[in-house]
Each structure stands twice: as C-alpha cells, then as structure tokens.
Symmetry: C2
Subunit: 210 residues, 2 copies
C-alpha cells in the first residue's frame, strides 16, 4: 500500500500541515508550540480557540521540569501519553488512581478515586506540574486542597473532558487559579492526549523542531 512510513517524515508533514492550516498569531510566541502540539494530538485545528492560559504558564512549566519537579497525573492514560525520553531531570511521574488506598479514601470522602488520588499526592504538590486529562473531580479537588492550605504547584494543566463538571471545573481554574500558572482547554473537549501533549511540549523545551 502507498503510505508514508518514515517516522521523521510523518512528524515533519504533520506539523507542516498544522502550521499551514492554523493561525496562532494571537498567541504569545512561547504558547505557539504548545498550541501546535495540542492541535496535533487531537486532529482539530479549532481546539486552539478554546485554549486558555496565564501569561507565565509556559515559562513556569519549563522551569519546573528543568528543576526536576514531579509530574502528577490524574489517570494512567495521561501518564502513558508522556514521552519519558523528554524528561531529563529525574522527574518522577506519579499517578495514584489505581492504588488500593485511593479506593478506600474515595469511599470515605464520598468522592471519586480521581479526587482521592489528589489528596494522596498533596505532599508532592510544591513546585510540581499537575496534569489533569480526564476527571473534572480531580481538578475541583486540587483547587479545594490549595484553598485548604496545600502547597502550590508550579503549573496546572487542566484538560478534563466530558459532560459533567468538565466545563465548570476548567472555568473555576481560569477564573481563579489561586495564583498558580495554568494552561487549560475551555468547554467539554479535553482528554488525556491533549493533556500529555501539553506536558510533552514543555518537556521538549520548545527549542528547535517540534
């Protein structure tokens, strides 16, 4: 069959297409490569219209990763979307969703496992990059924990998806991120692929080629 097999060529043509079809001129320069990777991850040029971010987000995310900060993920799909070879500073990638302790804490808290997993990781928040690609309740709970005095992370990537709480949790983050830099996707769209692509863009350092 006739198709492009060379990974480097696939990569090159993919990003060339995204660059040709998208208009990222309204974004600050350091957000453009994040936006390109976001579009690339979901196949939708117009996702960029829903991207929201604080002006310090890209810089803060890169600095945290380069300082060896832990990367905290809400679900395993996010963890497995992160390209580990880009993490060169001993960053731990953490996800507690499947732990036995998470299940029992969730039932005690009368909340989801995704939310309980945030509680179990709150001692790691300080300076961390928190990547939420699935569960609105994880994002709500993260904001609650910060309000209750948990240490502030360096960056929140807030991209839960779906029909209950996704819109609202991301709106809560955007309206008041508690002083924490953030990158989010407004609305119902989001997901593990977009969230991990954002982290990958930051971890790859935004230097040179995508």
């Amino acid at each position: 069959m006739d198709y492009i097999r060379d990974p480097a060529e696939i990569y090159r043509q993919s990003f060339a297409t995204v660059e040709r079809e998208s208009d990222l001129t309204s974004l600050p320069k350091d957000m453009r490569k994040v936006a390109l990777r976001l579009i690339h991850s979901c196949g939708m040029i117009d996702i960029v219209d829903d991207v929201a971010f604080s002006s310090d987000a890209v810089k803060a995310g890169i600095a945290a990763i380069e300082a060896g900060a832990p990367i905290i993920c809400d679900v395993e799909m996010v963890r497995h979307g992160i390209i580990e070879r880009h993490l060169k500073h001993g960053n731990e990638v953490l996800c507690r969703i499947a732990d036995e302790a998470t299940r029992s804490l969730a039932s005690e808290m009368k909340n989801t496992r995704s939310a309980a997993a945030m509680d179990l990781l709150k001692d790691k928040f300080s300076g961390a990059v928190i990547v939420i690609g699935n569960a609105p309740t994880a994002l709500f709970r993260l904001l609650e924990l910060i309000d209750a005095g948990a240490a502030k992370p360096a960056l929140i990537i807030g991209m839960p998806v779906g029909f209950v709480g996704a819109v609202e949790s991301k709106q809560a983050l955007i309206e008041n991120s508690r002083g924490v830099p953030y990158i989010a996707v407004r609305g119902r769209r989001g997901g593990s692929a977009m969230a991990s692509a954002t982290l990958n863009a930051l971890a790859a350092g935004l230097k040179g080629g995508l």
Copy 2:
C-alpha cells in the same frame, strides 16, 4: 466547592446529557450504546456523524470478547483506557510498541514502531479484536498483513488520529475491510480514548446500563 462527587451520579448525568443532546435514531440499536460511549469519551456530540461500521461489527466484537479473544492495542494509551474489570473471559490485552524487538524491526522495515508492533503480533490476529487509537501506520500495516495472508481478526476498531495518514488509512479500511467487521471514525479525529471506549462498550456487553 459545589460539584457532583458521586461517581454513579456523574455517570448517570453524563449519559443522560449525551442521550438528550444526540440523535442516534439513524444507527442500528446495537451501535447506539457504542456511539454513546464514543461521544462520552471525547465530549463531542457530533463525533457520531463520522462513525462508520459494518453491520456485523458489534455482534462480532462481543462474540470475540466472550470467546476470550486477545485484545491487540497499537499504543499503551489504548491499553490503559481499557477497563479490565469488563474483560471476564481471560482476554489478554497486548501491546508491543515499547518492546526492544519492535524498535529493531521498525528500523529494518523502514516503518514506524507502531507498524512493526503489528508484525510482531500477527500470530495472534486470528479471532482477535484489534484496537488502533493512535497510529495510521499500524492500521495500514494491519491491512497489508491481512493481504499477505495473516489470519483475519474478529473486529478492527480503527480510530487513528491526526494529519498524516489518519484519513487515508481509515478510508482504506472502510472501502475494503478485507471481510473483517470494523468500527471506525472517519476524518482526522480519533484517538486512544475513543478507541478504548469502543472496546469498553463491547466488553460491558451493552446490557442494562451503560
């Protein structure tokens, strides 16, 4: 903060919203719950307009899963999107993308690791469910292997995403699925979440609640 914490209630309201907003009457009954889960996985009601399938796909997928068929995934994100508690018939969930053997075969074949991983699993194709949520080259290679005489799987879930080969590989599947039942999402959209949601819908048996 004020948000819905109860997982069962989140689930109920999510699917109620999808059912209220979508029109699935053009689909055969057994495809409707697959479509609901697809919509749920990506937050996009209109994804259903791009769903393509053979008339025997749902039946074939359920029968294969109930017969204990292996589930072959193109990438780890798909594997981790599959809800294992729904797999009650000893089904193996296989993914070879990260194997050392895959890397060297890919370089020998001058193709991607995703494509090479299909070659390494071709002895498992017979009666399997193959779930492709990321790599167009995995879907192209799968069709080539079947053309070259590999055993036919029971079902192909074809949902690679992106700007190079995604449209074309899915079109190739839809135009000539080599007699293999399939469920696909036309166009650039797709991804691990949609692909694993489709498998989860089949594995949950489509009985009773979603």
